[in-house]
């Protein structure tokens, strides 16, 4: 099985942030995706589906479950965008459907044999929504206590991500 190249995925996300001129949180993820010519559709989907990515007749499509929490929709957008940026070849052949992202247990993901593309897409999404350069400016020089729920939640609100997504990012 091909190994996930998370370093490449993160570097690609950073390039996109640079191109888009992002300097502050929250990252305008939907605007960035639309600016790259991808059509974004928010629509109600079955609860276990987060989103989908597809390329039809040359048109890039990202679909997001509109019934999920807005922060989760942001992560889904970033994740599906990653498939367009990193794995466009597969999106022309079939509709790529994503269920809930088991994003928090990377070791478990690997042991479950989860597709390397999913691992890359999660790494890309985490870097896109919570870029290191913004984390650096917002966290104390003296360190940041991951056990401090209030501070984690306050920081997560600024990035418009879930607290668990932020914890995952800080531990990555």
């Amino acid at each position: 099985m091909k190994r996930a190249d998370t370093a490449r995925a993160r570097a690609h996300a950073r390039d996109i942030l640079t191109d888009a001129g992002v300097r502050a949180a929250p990252v305008p993820v939907e605007k960035i995706i639309r600016a790259r010519g991808i059509v974004v559709q928010h629509a109600p989907l079955a609860d276990d589906l987060s989103g989908m990515a597809y390329i039809r007749e040359g048109i890039g499509i990202v679909g997001v479950n509109a019934l999920h929490h807005p922060n989760r929709q942001r992560f889904t957008l970033a994740h599906e965008f990653a498939h367009h940026e990193l794995h466009a070849d597969i999106l022309k052949a079939e509709v790529h459907v994503d269920r809930g992202f088991r994003v928090l247990k990377r070791d478990q993901l690997a042991s479950e044999g989860v597709d390397w593309r999913e691992i890359e897409a999660n790494a890309f999404a985490a870097e896109l929504l919570m870029p290191q350069f913004l984390l650096d400016t917002m966290m104390d020089v003296g360190g940041f206590d991951l056990e401090d729920d209030e501070r984690v939640e306050a920081l997560a609100r600024r990035f418009r991500v879930s607290a668990s997504a932020l914890r995952f990012r800080l531990l990555a």
Binding site: L49, I61, I90
Partner: protein, 112 residues
């Protein structure tokens, strides 16, 4: 019950066009003589549309042809073609995904 995806596609196209024009559901409802709730239901694909209403809606949305709101042959066939999916999903989810693709294709096509 799963609504016929063609109504969803009509509703999506109508909503996209209405939003492009910055028209509210209430404004559109007043122009075509339907209730706002009916407009909302039509946009969600939950209410079937009579032909004269479809024509009035197209005119109120400043479209030359009512067919601008109709699913194209390619999106019509979307429901029948075996969409290759990366994962097994329920029939309802498949219809929802087909709807997203049809709506995205309608949104991507330039309108006159």
């Amino acid at each position: 019950m799963i609504p016929d995806p063609r109504y969803q596609q009509f509703g999506e196209a109508m909503k996209v066009r209405r939003q492009q024009l910055g028209t509210t559901q209430a404004e559109l409802a007043a122009r075509v003589g339907l209730s706002r709730a009916s407009i909302a239901n039509i946009e969600r694909g939950r209410q079937s549309v009579l032909l004269h209403h479809a024509c009035d809606i197209a005119a109120a949305l400043k479209l030359d042809h009512v067919t601008d709101l109709m699913p194209s042959r390619s999106s019509l066939s979307l429901e029948n073609e075996a969409l290759a999916l990366s994962d097994d999903v329920s029939a309802a989810a498949k219809a929802q995904i087909s709807g997203i693709i049809a709506a995205a294709m309608a949104a991507a096509r330039p309108r006159s």
